[in-house]
């Protein structure tokens, strides 16, 4: 057996000491010289399309799956419930960029949260001289494509007024934006200084939408219709969009002299039988008609039901109606399907009083008195009790 093993050992040693031919490298290279450069196999168009689709889907899901493993610290007081939860989960992107102004004031961008409805910037202002609250945040955000408007912000300062922590929300940047520049201006003794912090958006760490749906439903409120167009629910907030009038209706009313000026849209968003906290809203009248949006806190993760309740809006209507008043007797007139009762007309101390009763949701804003073809402007309105608003002319 020893002999047998030694034979193996002998050959093994021979192999161990074998010389690698010097020409090996050259021969390998030459063998490849004759080969054409690899060409990728061609697939049919159908297959290419399918492959692209799959990549897009995977890419999209990666976006929604990725989240940051850290949380932004020190913002508990300025975050609402949803943001706090997201921060606890480590959602968001840490930036940690600082700019120090000449007067020693420093601005630090701690992190951002980004989704389809907004970009939130979490910042700290450090003012060693103790004027943190005077360093009012004047932010602007610039991307490659355009500037993004600040939407809302809130902050809280410490007791010594040296540190201010805040959250500023901006319009959601275009999905092609990679790098953003946040500028912050401070004013002191008539001098203005601008600090800039540039950061990259990492869309992998951006947050997905829970729900983006078009509603396209119309609700009749009084004489007008409110159209609800879409609901965008992102992890940071919920935006409901709708319109009151489109451009044609707007034009028709304009011609008829019965314009409607929307002041406020109120509605309650109920998710899982609980009202979602309202955060704000806005409206716009332009070439596209009257559009509005209402912002709410984010929807619960385990969303089962969602409905809108208690829809109402405040608007001014142009009525242009002339009512002949009858001194003494009470009169009932109908304006915009609302019942208005003129109770009493009387004169006192050189003024003429007209006592009018209307429904609680009707307010007469511009009333003129025509006497002998002369227009007398409304002098003053005295709000009575809710049940009985009075108008004095």
């Amino acid at each position: 057996m020893n002999e047998f093993e030694s034979i193996f050992r002998e050959e093994k040693n021979d192999l161990k000491n074998i010389e690698i031919p010097e020409e090996l490298e050259e021969r390998l290279r030459k063998a490849l010289d004759h080969k054409a450069v690899i060409k990728k196999k061609k697939y049919g168009i159908g297959k290419v399309a399918a492959a692209c689709l799959v990549i897009l889907l995977i890419g999209y899901n990666f976006d929604s799956l990725a989240f940051y493993s850290k949380k932004i610290i020190g913002y508990n007081d300025v975050m609402n419930g949803t943001l706090k939860q997201l921060n606890e989960l480590g959602r968001g992107q840490i930036i940690n960029e600082k700019y120090i102004f000449e007067n020693g004031v420093a601005i630090l961008v701690d992190g951002i949260m980004l989704d389809e409805s907004q970009l939130l910037v979490f910042y700290t202002i450090e003012a060693p001289a103790g004027k943190a609250d005077e360093m009012m945040p004047m932010f602007s955000l610039k991307g490659f494509l355009r500037q993004y408007a600040p939407e809302s912000g809130q902050g809280i300062r410490n007791d010594t007024n040296t540190v201010l922590k805040g959250v500023q929300s901006f319009e959601a940047p275009h999905f092609l934006e990679k790098k953003l520049e946040l500028s912050y201006r401070i004013h002191e003794d008539g001098k203005m200084e601008e600090g800039k912090i540039t950061f990259k958006i990492d869309r992998e760490e951006a947050m997905e939408n829970i729900l983006k749906t078009s509603i396209n439903q119309t609700v009749k409120v009084g004489k007008s219709k409110i159209r609800f167009k879409s609901l965008l629910a992102s992890p940071t907030k919920t935006v409901l969009k709708g319109s009151i009038q489109n451009i044609w209706e707007l034009a028709q009313d304009q011609i008829a002299g019965e314009r409607l000026r929307l002041k406020q849209v109120q509605l309650k968003l109920i998710a899982n039988d609980k009202e979602v906290e309202k955060q704000g809203g806005g409206m716009r009248t332009d070439m596209n008609g009257i559009a509005f949006h209402c912002d709410y806190d984010a929807l619960p993760q385990d969303l089962k039901s969602l409905r809108l309740e208690d829809i109402r809006f405040l608007a001014d209507y142009d009525v242009n109606q002339v009512i002949t008043l009858d001194k003494g007797a009470a009169q009932t007139v109908h304006i915009q399907e609302q019942e208005i009762v003129i109770n009493k007309i009387y004169q006192s101390g050189g003024n003429t009083f007209v006592n009018i009763t209307s429904d609680e949701d009707t307010v007469l804003t511009r009333v003129y008195l025509l006497a002998e073809e002369e227009k007398i402007e409304l002098n003053q309105t005295i709000e009575g009790s809710y049940e009985n608003p009075n108008a004095k002319i």
């Binding site: 057996m1 074998i18 690698i20 090996l24 390998l28 063998a31 490849l32």
Partner: protein, 173 residues
């Protein structure tokens, strides 16, 4: 050397990256080919054949990290191809070589071993060579030959059993 990176470059058609990859383990490749073919020229031929094969098929390699075991399997197949051609083409030479080996049998243990090994089935001698001459472990052999681990063990056991009997018997006679 970052293997994955180099493999990716080779996948893009960079011939030099592929040469670099193989040269980084030239000794392993060459010895493997030599164990099968037992001469320099054939070993070099087999390696040339391998690098061309690897170059043509590298885009099919999904996991870059297994480049070495994948390419060595290709080398083994190239060696076997050379052996098959050798058997077919030069059968007369082989007979002559055999007789030449017979003459030296008593003088050179190495040739004695070869002579006995060549009496075994090819599958058995291959595994014995890989295990005892190249010191490869069972798993590496299984990976290289693309056979189950159990098969490696059983082939090795039977091969060694036959070899020992033959060798022992011969030796005691």
């Amino acid at each position: 050397m970052e293997i994955k990176l180099w493999v990716k470059r080779a996948k893009k058609g960079e011939k030099e990256a592929l040469v670099e990859l193989i040269m980084a383990q030239k000794s392993d490749y060459y010895k493997l080919a030599y164990v099968y073919l037992k001469n320099k020229e054939d070993a070099l031929d087999a390696m040339e054949d391998m690098i061309v094969n690897v170059y043509e098929n590298i885009t099919a390699l999904k996991n870059e990290a297994v480049f070495y075991s994948w390419s060595k399997t290709i080398l083994v197949n190239c060696c076997k191809k050379v052996l098959r051609e050798r058997n077919r083409m030069v059968s007369i030479d082989t007979i002559k070589e055999q007789s030449y080996q017979d003459n030296l049998e008593e003088k050179d243990n190495k040739i004695v071993l070869d002579a006995y090994l060549s009496e075994l089935q090819e599958t058995h001698q291959e595994i014995i060579r890989l295990r005892y001459l190249l010191d490869l472990d069972y798993q590496s052999i299984a990976n290289l030959l693309k056979i189950p681990l159990g098969t490696v063990k059983s082939r090795l056991y039977y091969g060694m059993d036959i070899l020992q009997k033959k060798f022992g018997g011969e030796h005691h006679e």
